[in-house]
């Protein structure tokens, strides 16, 4: 099993040539995967601004890493490192939200810019219409995960279902919404 890099101090680089090689490899990795990484993090954090910050932090961590072998491992490390950092940030987000009191409009600033040609109002209608068409349990599981930020295990407990079932509901919901939003997305 591969372990993700932790917050340990950077290992000493004995060989300056190897260190230079590692920095170069990490830089290449980033230029190849940065946009995929930011998209991944935006889904996790619901904020593209925070996603960019975390991606940058992951880059720094990767540079501190003792060079592992193989570019595909490095790539997995990158996403796992970013995922850990995102999880830490979610925890502090949750703390902040508890203190601020979650209000009616708490997710406004997390909205991505709507697709060109669709107004924000149209986008909201499309989303609500797509969610409305989901079977109730499927809709419940998806809303609890996507909009309330509950982990799969918590949703399963709330619904008194197995985690496997909740996963299946959310997957089905995603696939269905993709079709609906693709169909309504280019109307205007």
């Amino acid at each position: 099993m591969i372990m993700a890099p932790s917050t340990d101090p950077p290992p000493e680089q004995h060989d300056p040539e190897a260190a230079r090689q590692h920095s170069k490899q990490v830089a290449e990795l980033f230029s190849a995967h940065n946009s995929a990484l930011v998209r991944f993090l935006t889904c996790r954090l619901r904020s593209s601004h925070e996603a960019k910050e975390v991606a940058q932090e992951a880059y720094v961590r990767m540079l501190q890493l003792d060079a592992p072998s193989g570019i595909s491992y490095l790539q997995a490390f990158l996403f796992k490192t970013a995922s850990n950092l995102a999880a830490d940030r979610m925890k502090s987000q949750a703390r902040r939200q508890r203190i601020d009191q979650i209000g009616f409009f708490d997710q406004v600033d997390a909205s991505p810019s709507p697709e060109a040609g669709i107004s924000a109002g149209q986008q909201i209608d499309n989303v609500l219409a797509a969610l409305d068409k989901l079977p109730p349990k499927c809709r419940y599981a998806f809303i609890m995960h996507r909009f309330y930020g509950h982990e799969i295990g918590d949703v399963a407990r709330l619904m008194n279902l197995s985690e496997r079932m909740v996963r299946l509901y959310i997957e089905r919901a995603l696939v269905f919404c993709r079709k609906r939003l693709l169909a309504t997305g280019g109307d205007e």
Partner: protein
């Protein structure tokens, strides 16, 4: 059952990567899958884009208990096929032959009910209001809902509220609240806490959710309380899940409570009655103190956790079952644990991860 598509696989990968505990090995397998073909990468990008587009400035309404109970979708086919089987005209495309067979197998009557509810859902769409409230450790909040009900939410509690023209649905996921319900016979007021559902028209009652137990105490008027027994762990095969939940629905138990009465629900499908004296203590927290009479320590510690914001671990069941009788003043919650260690034969130590561990002291 239809064949899995790249998009189905992409959704599965996407969801696995969303978990905060995902192993690096999963990322490695995901990258292999992504590198396999451009079709995989395109499907993944579409799912990711869908997730990002599904973002609106407020939380969408959750389906009602009745809708959830009437829902027979078990995830075994894609949602469109389920719509095809329910003959919902909103989706349009004719159902393929294999979904028609599915419809016959699953029972046409039940599906007609589900479709009818969708229509109602859409018709009243504009009248939704949803709110989410949460209180930090040690802080209580009072608020008034737009329809006039007053709620006092105790420390460390989470409450979601959904108001429609037909019902007022509240979900207390943790903590404790006191509900003074504004009278509106047309819109039942329900609070769901764990396995316990409380229904009221115009009345006042307290709901306390701690560990596996919910305690409901009525101070004015009458409420109806329903307990749902836990479901057996799901057997292999997705169809079993819905069969099990059907059985569970039939085993629900409903009772009526009037002012001065209280019950506890351990989530096992039956109630325990509290004495009048115990019922009278249920709302003592509104006056700035918590009074307990022969209360198992685990529930006292759950309350202290909500006030202090610290994670409290109980060493074993025999510690959790120790009984506490006494009063804790809410303005001095810091000294509570010290007081407990004096009143009961327990020791309290701080664990390396910052939690407080409470254990029975064998020497006392």
């Amino acid at each position: 059952m239809s064949a899995r598509t790249h998009v189905d696989d992409a959704a599965r990968w996407f969801l696995r990567l969303q978990d905060s505990g995902t192993d690096a090995r999963v990322f490695l397998e995901w990258q292999r899958w992504m590198n396999d073909s451009a079709a995989h990468r395109a499907a993944y990008a579409e799912i990711e884009e869908t997730y990002l587009q599904l973002n609106i400035p407020h939380r969408p309404p959750l389906p009602s208990d009745q809708e959830l109970a009437a829902d027979d979708y078990d995830g075994s086919v894609p949602v469109e096929e389920w719509h095809g089987a329910t003959a919902n005209p909103a989706i349009g495309s004719p159902a393929p032959v294999r979904t028609m067979r599915y419809a016959l197998a699953a029972g046409v009557a039940a599906m007609a009910v589900a479709a009818g509810m969708f229509w109602q859902w859409n018709a009243h769409h504009a009248q939704y209001e949803t709110y989410a409230y949460s209180t930090p450790a040690g802080e209580r909040q009072e608020f008034v809902l737009p329809e006039g009900s007053r709620i006092t939410l105790d420390a460390g509690s989470v409450l979601n509220v959904e108001l429609t023209s037909e019902r007022r649905t509240l979900v207390l996921t943790q903590g404790e609240g006191y509900f003074k319900v504004s009278k509106d016979a047309k819109r039942p007021f329900t609070v769901l806490a764990g396995n316990t559902l409380v229904r009221a028209v115009g009345t006042a009652f307290n709901v306390r959710r701690s560990a596996n137990r919910t305690v409901v105490a009525v101070t004015e008027g009458k409420v109806e309380v329903t307990s749902s027994p836990p479901e057996p762990p799901p057997a292999a095969g997705s169809l079993r899940d819905s069969a099990a939940s059907h059985d569970a629905r039939e085993r629900r138990l409903t009772i009526q409570l009037k002012a001065g009465e209280a019950v506890s629900d351990m989530g096992e499908g039956h109630f325990g009655a509290l004495t009048q004296a115990e019922a009278a203590l249920a709302t003592s927290w509104l006056d700035g103190r918590r009074q307990y009479r022969k209360e198992p320590l685990r529930y006292v510690l759950a309350d202290i956790g909500r006030y202090s914001g610290r994670r409290i671990e109980i060493a074993d069941d025999s510690t959790g079952e120790l009984q506490f009788t006494g009063t804790l003043m809410l303005d001095s919650s810091d000294s509570w644990l010290k007081a407990l260690a004096i009143a009961l034969p327990v020791t309290i130590v701080e664990t390396p991860n910052g939690a407080l561990s409470v254990a029975r002291d064998p020497d006392r």
